[in-house]
Symmetry: C2
DNA sequence: TTGAAAGCGTTACCAC
DNA sequence: GTGGTAACGCTTTCAA
């Protein structure tokens, strides 16, 4: 491996000049720079990142910590982050921290402390107090994409708003018996789901429909919500005319369950989701669109701003979901 | 930040002794070690990874390069890799390289050359010649999870076998008119899909059913295969009695399309997929199970072996998909 | 078993 | 504008 010393020798200059010529920092005459650049190219010189890091004190890498890499929202945000980082020439170091695992504890206790990164992006992390403490103790800029409230920069999505809007959409169509599908299905009940449930509840109460509030519990997956919906929609008498789902995948689970039971959507049952998932169009799903990829990109931009100006106070960027009306919602039967 | 010098000072020993005591390399008396360990703990000492890297020449990090982070197979493998790496205390640096993008070119030209890792895992990469060349030029151990044939260590899945087995399963049930769903839907037609198609074709030919070979093209997503299947299954006369799908998601697209058209599964149409996806059970899908997570873990193990013994020749580990019979397949009608 | 000192490959300060 | 040289924080050889 050719080092900068080799480049300098070939170009007939000193290491310092070669360094300046290549990094662009400091003044070098145009002719010298040209010589150095040519030398570097002939030698196929690539600076050692570790040496650069040691000398400069920064790693040119961003850490990303997230509880799931396989779920739609998380994977999409990750992709957005990765793309933006790539444009900036920054590496991405990934930490997977599934709630309640020993691996997660290790990530917080060992891996993060190693500080292989200049800044950290947390995606939907929802850290416990102890974990958040750890996160802050690292002492490097931190931006969260949802999952953390206040005290730290965050790309936030107004979750209550989304389900409130979804619920109001159904109410506006004339529905009264509206159930909320999803959330509270497993041991771990994420904040996002709770807030979405709250938005629904608030909208129902505001509309004087408190008596109709109904929560069909289901884990946040298509199969889980399908099963839950099959059970809940079985009885014609207790069946709602509208469903607000915690996410599009859950909404689709509900729609498939309805079809299975011979319930027409939207004829007998209106369904509205949140996300505008890849599947939404195929099921003509009315939904509240959020674009996680953009949230990821925004997180990088915000982090970069913090890196550029360490004094910059924490900032919250709100992203609002937008209602996309398709044909899974209509006026209630009769 | 406390450095090893501080630890050494507090323990009343030299830097070298402190280093040996902490890293476990070299001989240190038990009492000295204890003193050093205590000192390190009181100071909250965490070694600087960049300094360690510079001194030792290795980064304690593994690079992962993959074309998609959001698709099921890729995300699952990534999770497997991440988990295994975490157990080993190794960091993971992620490179997203979507085919045909400028970003991908940058990854190969700039990012990989930086060599921020001791070894590289490629997931379903299917590199072009130029890209593979680049990959090999890096000169560090490389393990591929599918996507690369020969010359390099690879965790392989026998794709022809899977679809061949799937096709034979249908033939065994008495089907003759069997179509292949998926593949060739977009500009980019991955090798995996081609090989799966070949397995189907070979099985059909071997069974003397060449005349019934039929390929319903569709991109590898649920909505795409749904649309393709709705078109293809519309005409009763030309409709096959069996479908071998390129993946479970595609199979599910086919099943939903069939339901839409009033075609009973498996009464009128048998469908078999590949993957044993999260959705398979919900649709009672007969499928060939592969467990990408295990493939990811296996890739890490193999890479670790290469790291331990640089002379170790490239090795191919075959993983065979296993037929899981559920109730989406049955004898053909009549 | 321990310590001194020489790297590891850059950058950055300070003279020239 | 350029070159020498001291860091950066650790590991590792070599002597003691």
């Amino acid at each position: 491996m050719a080092g900068i010393a080799d480049v300098a020798a070939l170009a007939g200059v000193s290491k310092s000049t070669a360094s300046r010529a290549l990094s662009g920092r400091g003044h070098v005459s145009a002719t010298t720079r040209a010589k150095v650049v040519v030398a570097a190219e002939t030698l196929g010189y690539v600076p050692s990142t570790t040496a650069v890091s040691l000398a400069t004190g920064h790693t040119n890498s961003i850490g990303v910590i997230m509880p799931y890499v396989t779920r739609w929202f998380f994977a999409e945000v990750l992709e957005g982050v990765q793309q933006r980082l790539l444009e900036e020439g920054l590496d991405l170091t990934l930490y997977d921290a599934k709630p309640g695992t020993a691996a997660r504890a290790r990530v917080f206790d060992d891996f993060l402390a190693r500080k292989r990164f200049d800044g950290l992006i947390a995606i939907g992390l929802e850290p416990e107090d102890r974990e958040l403490e750890r996160l802050l103790a690292i002492g490097c800029p931190l931006v969260s994409v949802v999952g953390i409230a206040g005290s730290v920069s965050v790309i936030a999505v107004d979750d209550d708003y989304a389900t409130r809007r979804a619920t109001e959409h159904l109410i506006g169509l004339g529905h009264e018996s509206i159930a909320f599908l999803g959330g509270g299905g497993g041991e771990h009940w994420p904040q996002v789901e709770r807030r979405r449930l709250e938005g629904y509840t608030a909208a129902m109460e505001d509309a004087g429909l408190a008596a109709h509030i109904s929560h069909i519990r289901a884990a946040a997956s298509l199969p889980a919500s399908y099963n839950a919906a099959v059970d809940a929609l079985g009885d014609v008498r207790s069946r709602p005319t509208g469903i607000v789902a915690v996410s599009d995948e859950v909404a689709v689970g509900g729609i498939i369950a309805a079809r299975r039971l011979g319930i027409r959507v939207p004829g007998d049952l209106s369904v509205v989701g949140i996300d505008d998932h890849e599947y939404a169009e195929m099921f003509s799903l009315t939904t509240l669109r959020q674009v996680p990829r953009e949230q990821g990109a925004a997180a990088v931009d915000l982090l970069l701003a913090h890196l550029a100006d360490p004094e910059k106070p924490p900032q919250t960027i709100h992203m609002k979901a937008r209602l996309i009306v398709r044909s899974s919602t209509a006026a209630p039967p009769e």
